[in-house]
Amino acid sequence: MSTIEPQTVPEGPPTPSDETPESQPVTGWGDRIFSSAAFGAGLLILLVLAAVFVFLAVQGAPGTHQAASVYGPYATNFWSYAGKLLFGTALAAVLAMLIAVPFALGLALFISHYAPRRLAVPVAYVIDLLAAVPSVVFGLWGGRALTHASLPVQHWLNQHLGWFPLFGGTPSSTGHTVFIAAVVLSIMVIPITTAIAREVFQQTPKLLEEAALGLGATRWEMIKYAVLPHSRSGVVAGAMLGLGRALGETMAVAMVLNGNPLVSIRILTTDSPATIASNIANEYKNEDPHMQSVLIATGLVLFVFTFLVNFAARTIVTRAERRLA
């Protein structure tokens, strides 16, 4: 434990103006080391990103024009193959977000505004711990335990809500369905989205909260008037990070799902659309170099897709911010 004492500051003016000309900023060793380290780190990230892109493009290029048999039996050319996988990826991710985002926001609000402190702190801690669980563990749990345990739920949904296309068709008897994959994904999305939402909720200015309370707002009305508008962009950012995880998650989906590149929105049946990442994991053992290049090309598709989704989300957020300014 150390305390900063004002006495340690040297006496007199800290920067005598006659020694440093005004045009030149004051720099010491620390400044130079820090600025070059920061610059280097930023450059390195860009280089790594570019290197990954080049690797995927070069290695994947042959994968876009292979014989039709390589893409079979569900597709005949690369674009339909990749398109179907992309559909599966988006379907699982969207379903996961539909489950995770309301949960995460509710949890974050509970921690930031509803729970008494002695409850809020442990709950927040447990949720953070959830983020540290490796995805293989979630995959094991989802594939071995949750699939069986959830069969009654899946059958119930199919029987009573079967008229809704998502829940229609003949339900799977094993439970290895997109539905369960989405549930497992949502559990993996919740910690990160919750953590960020909680952070921005807690940063709502007291002044605005009191403005609402002073008008006679209930706690929920105060949240609606002050907390949510203030946190909107932060919540979107948190959801985007979660979406990134859901789109790219490999092991958990691969272990839950026996997926194939096909298009089906019946998430309780055995016709499970594979996701790009889980498909790569499942097919990578295949030694065929033609198949390998196809897989790498699908990796590039995922890379570009994730990038576009993030870009779109950021554009929406900045536009919303600018409209308010």
Binding site: L208, L213, L215, G216, A217, L324
Partner: protein, 259 residues
Amino acid sequence: MAKSIDVSDVNIYYGDFLAVQGVNMSIRAGAVTAFIGPSGCGKSTFLRSLNRMHEVIPGARVEGKIVVDGQDLYGPGIDPVAVRRTVGMVFQRPNPFPTMSIYDNVLAGSRLNAKKIKKADADEIVERSLRGANLWQEVKDRLGKPGMGLSGGQQQRLCIARAIAVQPEILLMDEPCSALDPISTSAVEDLIHQLKDDYTIVIVTHNMQQAARVSDDTGFFNLKATGEPGHLVEFNPTKKMFANPDDPATEAYISGRFG
């Protein structure tokens, strides 16, 4: 309708810390009552206990009776949310809702009270409140613009418009001019003079000239000693308070000899 407030034996706590002790006073209906005193003497804390905003802070609580219109605000079964709808509040720094237009800011409180408001009624409330806050002429052509685009003084009058839009019985003001320039301050003071016909106004101020200018009654709060709770030293008509105070401590404070 303006209402009087009767305060008896009020103690205010932050957790175990007694911040304000033993306050008794009668605040007249349709008058302006000012609280003055040095920083940290509990005048803002006491003001916030008048509409149960004090207890928003975790661990904060109030003992004693604060009676408005024959009803104890701290009685059993009294909903703090309902109290705050009849006792409005204006804060130290202007705090319009940043994502709302001027129009929606004024209506914010009304929309809490009644779920649906007809467009014609809403227009009427907005115009009446903005006129009441002396802001109508300045903003009537840009009601759809964000409230944050106004100057500090205009924002504060917007907050006053928002508070009176729900027609409270009492209006509390916590140093409403401390973040404003002299011209905006004078606009708000003029407004306070007009508002007291319809509302009971209680204002906390650091500026003794302001207390002398706007108020009918004045309460002087002080600390007994450093670390001791704040208490009400003297409560008298403003004229008497500034000309011939009962308590020597009040005179010392007002004449600038301490505080």
